[in-house]
C-alpha cells in the first residue's frame, strides 16, 4: 500500500483533468465515470474523447485509443510469469489494475524480493495499485462536475495537448524512443489532411516501426538501450 502512495499524487490531478476535458467535450458524469472505471488508463481515455470530439469515425477513435493501450500487453506479459500459480480469480482482478506506475513499481519490488511466492507478488501488486481505481473514478466525477461550470475563456482546449505532451516527456528515455516520437510527429503533421484521422494511425505505426528499427541498430552496435 505504502509504495502506492506516490501514485495518488499523479492520479488525483489527472482524474480531475480527465473529468474536466470529458465535460468540455459534452460527456455526462456517468459516461466519464464508466469510461474511467472500465479503462483505467488516462492516455487512452484522453485519446478517445479527443478523437470523438474532433468528429473522427467511431472505429478510428476506438482503434487509436486501443493502440495507446497496447503497451499494457507488454506490462502484462512481463508480470504474468511472476503471478503464475496464483488463483485465476485473483489474476483476473489484478489484470484490471495493470497500468504504468503499478508495473514500474512491481518490477522494482520483485527484483528486490526474489523469494516472494506468486501469491505474495500478486498481493503486493494489488496492494499498491488498488488505491488507483477508486481515486481515479472519484476525481473523474469531481472534474466532470467542475468542468461543466468552467467557461470557455479559460483556454481549457489546450489542457489536452499539454497533458499528452506531459505524459510523453518522461517516456522519452532513450534514442529509439526519441526517434519514434519524432517520426510520429513529422508524419502526423504531413498527413494531417487525410480523412478519418488516418494520418494518426499511419504516423503511430511508422513511429513504432522506427523505434523498433533504431533499437535493433543500436543493439547491433553494442549500445545499451
Amino acid at each position: 500500500m505504502a509504495d502506492g502512495a506516490p501514485f495518488v499524487l499523479v492520479v488525483v490531478p489527472f482524474g480531475l483533468l480527465f473529468g474536466v476535458v470529458a465535460a468540455e467535450a459534452g460527456l455526462h458524469v456517468l459516461e466519464s465515470l464508466t469510461l474511467s472505471l472500465m479503462v483505467v488508463a488516462g492516455a487512452s481515455q484522453f485519446t478517445a474523447v479527443q478523437l470523438l470530439s474532433e468528429g473522427a469515425p467511431t472505429f478510428i477513435a476506438l482503434f487509436a485509443a486501443l493502440a495507446v493501450n497496447l503497451r499494457m500487453a507488454m506490462y502484462a506479459a512481463a508480470l504474468a510469469p511472476h503471478w503464475q500459480g496464483a488463483p485465476l480469480r485473483q489474476r483476473a482482478f489484478a489484470a484490471w489494475l495493470v497500468q504504468d506506475q503499478g508495473y514500474a513499481c512491481a518490477m522494482i519490488a520483485y527484483d528486490k524480493n526474489p523469494q516472494w511466492s506468486a501469491s505474495e507478488k500478486l498481493r503486493y501488486y494489488v496492494g499498491t495499485a488498488s488505491l488507483i481505481c477508486p481515486i481515479w473514478g472519484i476525481f473523474t466525477v469531481v472534474g466532470a462536475l467542475v468542468g461543466a461550470a468552467i467557461p470557455p475563456e479559460y483556454a481549457l482546449d489546450f489542457a489536452v495537448p499539454i497533458t499528452f505532451l506531459a505524459m510523453l516527456a518522461p517516456m522519452l528515455r532513450t534514442g529509439p524512443h526519441m526517434a519514434a516520437a519524432l517520426v510520429a510527429v513529422t508524419v502526423s503533421l504531413l498527413l494531417a489532411g487525410l480523412p478519418y484521422s488516418l494520418g494518426l494511425l499511419i504516423a503511430g505505426a511508422l513511429g513504432m516501426i522506427t523505434g523498433a528499427q533504431v533499437e535493433t541498430i543500436a543493439i547491433r552496435k553494442g549500445a545499451s538501450v
Binding site: T34, L35, L62, A92, F158, I162, A166, H177, G211, A212
Partner: protein, 110 residues
C-alpha cells in the same frame, strides 16, 4: 469540437473498456509465462511514444480554439511542457509549467 453522438460514445466506452481489459488479461490469464517474441515486444515498447505525439502534434500546431491558426502562446506552452517534462521527468510539474506558460503567453501576447 462537434457534439458527440451518444451511440458512438457508448460503443467507444464499452469497446475500449473490454478491449483494454482483453489486452491485459490475455497474457495474465491465458498465456501465462510463455514469452512474446522479441520483435513483438520491440514494437509494443514504442506504441505510447508514437501514438501520443502523433495525436498531440496537430493539436499544438493548428489549435481548434484559433480555428487552426498557428498560435504563439499555445506553441510556446507546448515547448515549455516538453522541456520541463524532459528536464524533470515529472508529469504534474510539466502540466503545471505548460499551463502557466499558456496563461502568461495569452496574457502578454494575446
Amino acid at each position: 469540437m462537434t457534439q458527440i453522438d451518444k451511440v458512438d460514445l457508448w460503443i467507444v466506452i464499452l469497446g475500449l473498456g473490454l478491449g483494454s481489459y482483453a489486452i491485459r488479461f490475455v497474457f495474465i490469464g491465458l498465456i501465462g509465462d510463455r514469452q512474446l517474441p522479441a520483435w513483438a515486444l520491440r514494437h509494443l515498447r514504442y506504441t505510447g511514444v508514437a501514438v501520443i505525439p502523433a495525436l498531440a502534434a496537430p493539436l499544438v500546431v493548428w489549435p481548434a480554439a484559433t480555428n487552426g491558426e498557428i498560435d504563439a502562446p499555445r506553441l510556446i506552452a507546448a515547448l515549455v511542457t516538453i522541456g520541463v517534462g524532459l528536464a524533470f521527468r515529472n508529469v504534474i510539474a510539466s502540466v503545471l509549467a505548460g499551463g502557466i506558460a499558456l496563461y502568461l503567453g495569452l496574457f502578454l501576447l494575446g
